[in-house]
Subunit: 237 residues, 4 copies
DNA sequence: GATGAATGAGGATTCATTCAT
DNA sequence: TATGAATGAATCCTCATTCAT
């Protein structure tokens, strides 16, 4: 944040210029084919480096090196380090939607809670294990009291997703409370994910079950009886 | 702890020895007094800087500056940056025990679950709000998949505490499972704490209640009926 | 050598490959040109600083300053201080071989001892006077009892050279003894060089003669009579 | 040299003041008994540290720590780091004279060359092995072209000693030449000593013999026949 | 677009030396 | 005297970012 100065403005200006004709909003800069490839290459490298070392410890030079390009090239596509994280977040989010998300929202609302948790969490866990950078980006900058940062599209989006799903299950809760519950769930999920990813094999599975139990027991008493009657079966013997 | 201030410890021991025989009070360790004050001052500064920026982004120079001393002075008392974190962890842990911990463990085992959660969490939350550095130190080095680091006396200690308390409530669970549950609880607490500290006033209170609800609902079904009969009353209406 | 400029080497290889097919001359590696020049510049600066102050007292910042570049630039080409010494050693060794070394070994074996000493030592002394850093690098890290260090390619190479030549003159000595004699000679040479370089003009010449006398008298009695019959003429009247 | 500033002047002034009454030259400051003990303690520590790490790498704090005193105490007796080396040099030189030197000069002049070398070198080598700091101090500051430094009382004294002995063996050489030969011998001895101290057991003995051979062969042809008739016997078979 | 050289402030740490007690 | 706290410049090295080609 403090470290990106004028370049940001420039980058923004460039975008504005490129998209100015259509009047469409800024995000997807028009880039030539070669540019797209480079960007993919760089985002892949960034994912590896962020995933391996975290955001702060990742150096832009390391990302460029991992991508096999020069630092200058990296900065031709990203105005600064944070922009890489932002774009990587977008990219992973898109990949996530493409991979599992098509029927994500719609279907789950009809499931009983325990099935919904399985249906929601399993692919998400899988995705995070396959893309540790996603986990990294879901966590804000980790400084307590400063939970959200600029590159938290991932954070914001995922939280919104949780909230949306949740709203379907808790139709009679006031929105503020739904938000609060969603926030809790999302944080429980994130930290649970850390534990899960820190283990392997059967231990990992056990922690996955444990996290589902936590969430199930937390949510179940809030859900009106008619909404998914069978949900109580598994986790509350 | 073991690596920091070995010289000081020696010096202290010598002083103690010298004054022990005569029973004379503080005088001859007056030398130490300034040092002791500096250490307190440095730890205070470190707490501020760690709390404000996190461990990694905190620079030793910034800590020294915050303490109003030169970098060299800092290194007269701490061999390196991590030692500062370790010592600060020890210090906060001690302060924590002194402030709330005297009757911490013993009393709580007899409480019903909801009272125990109040008795346990409220002071801990209060302490963390007053000492954000404690929160920072409770979190490991934040890189997912590398949950524990060296300066995690705080992490280790707190986790152990949770486990101990938990064992009292879950006498019939196998140890491995107790560990797993304790791990989950501790992580839920940490991430809940982040949310709590990111809010203020009534919102903060609401999140505190929410976190307690999560934990209560998670734990309650595991506790044998005879242990804390009334515990079900509050959070599961 | 192995640790420095790996990236550069890669880059060079890529360039070479790119231009190799077409047979086109230098153009596409123009990028490298600046870098190559900087490296030469930095090595020159390092030679000056090492030569003036010795390895330990030489600071990387001083070398960068002497080269007229920023510290960062230096570290773009060398991973650390020692690598500078290693590379400088390689460089000087190469220069030495290119300048005097072509016929170095082959020819000398046929010379009588005194001529061989002249032929061997004179250019070496000259080279050292012109490149004091070479002298610095020939000396290990100077702490007695720890004669060899890592950047001692120069040390090792020169000692090997002495040993090889010597073996030709002492065909009937066991290898271990040849090694020992070579070690003695090399150390005598190094310390003689210090004396020589500490003097100038006629005094310097006198010390050069003196060192040759020492070595001649030391070696001559060991050489079989048939090997260099006339060798006794000069220094042992 | 460059690092000691005003303190030197102060120290000098203090000395002058202390000895001003008697008008005697400066060196031996009047020190109380306790002071003498401290100085001995500090010099012992300095010898250990210099011997272990060399002059440059030795830190005054390390010396103080090794002596079990505070840095401030060290600076109460020595104005700066170099003064420690100077005083340690004096001290070792004195110890050397006391141990082996009583009859050092006088007796040796009558010996044949090879016996003289044994008589001279053996104790010196022994002393150096027992006091590596002596070796360290005998070497100047190691930067070629700057052979002598300030703390080289040891260097100067030992060189003078060599020269004196040598003069007895080479009565018909002009003084300048004797000086030159002495310089060569001393440097050969110093570098030979490094090799010797870098080895152990039989290898060390072999190097000792080798060094004596070098010196013997160097000197023997210069000595008038009547001076030490039997000297040729051993090393020139 | 791509390159890689260049920057320079900043990071952790050390050390000779001084000063208040 | 002795202490040990205090200093601050200097050390090696890193990194986000810029610039000339």
């Amino acid at each position: 944040m403090s470290q990106s100065r004028a370049a940001d403005a420039e980058g923004a200006a460039k975008d504005a210029g490129a998209t100015g004709k259509t009047g469409a909003p800024a995000k997807p800069r028009r880039r030539q084919a070669r540019g797209e490839a480079r960007i993919a290459q760089l985002l892949k490298a960034a994912a590896d480096v962020f995933g391996a070392t975290g955001y702060t410890a990742a150096s832009t030079n390391a990302i460029a090196r991992e991508a096999g390009v020069s630092p200058g090239t990296l900065y031709q596509f990203f105005p600064n380090k944070e922009a890489i994280a932002v774009e990587l977040g977008d990219h992973l989010l898109t990949r996530w939607r493409e991979t599992y998300g098509a029927a994500f929202l719609a279907d789950h609302l009809e499931l009983p809670l325990d099935r919904m948790l399985d249906a929601t969490l399993d692919p998400l866990i899988e995705f995070n294990c396959a893309n540790p950078a996603f986990t990294v980006l879901m966590h804000g900058s980790e400084i307590p009291g400063m939970v959200t940062k600029d590159h938290d599209a991932v954070h914001v989006t995922m939280l919104g997703r949780v909230e949306t799903i949740l709203a379907g299950y808790l139709p009679d809760k006031p929105p503020a409370e739904v938000t609060r519950i969603a926030t809790m769930i999302f944080h429980i999920f994130k930290s649970g994910l850390d534990v899960i990813m820190a283990h392997e094999g059967e231990e990992r599975e056990a922690y996955i079950r444990e996290m589902k139990t936590v969430l199930h027991r937390y949510l179940e008493p809030m859900i009106p009886d008619d909404t998914a009657a069978g949900s109580r079966s598994r986790h509350t013997p």
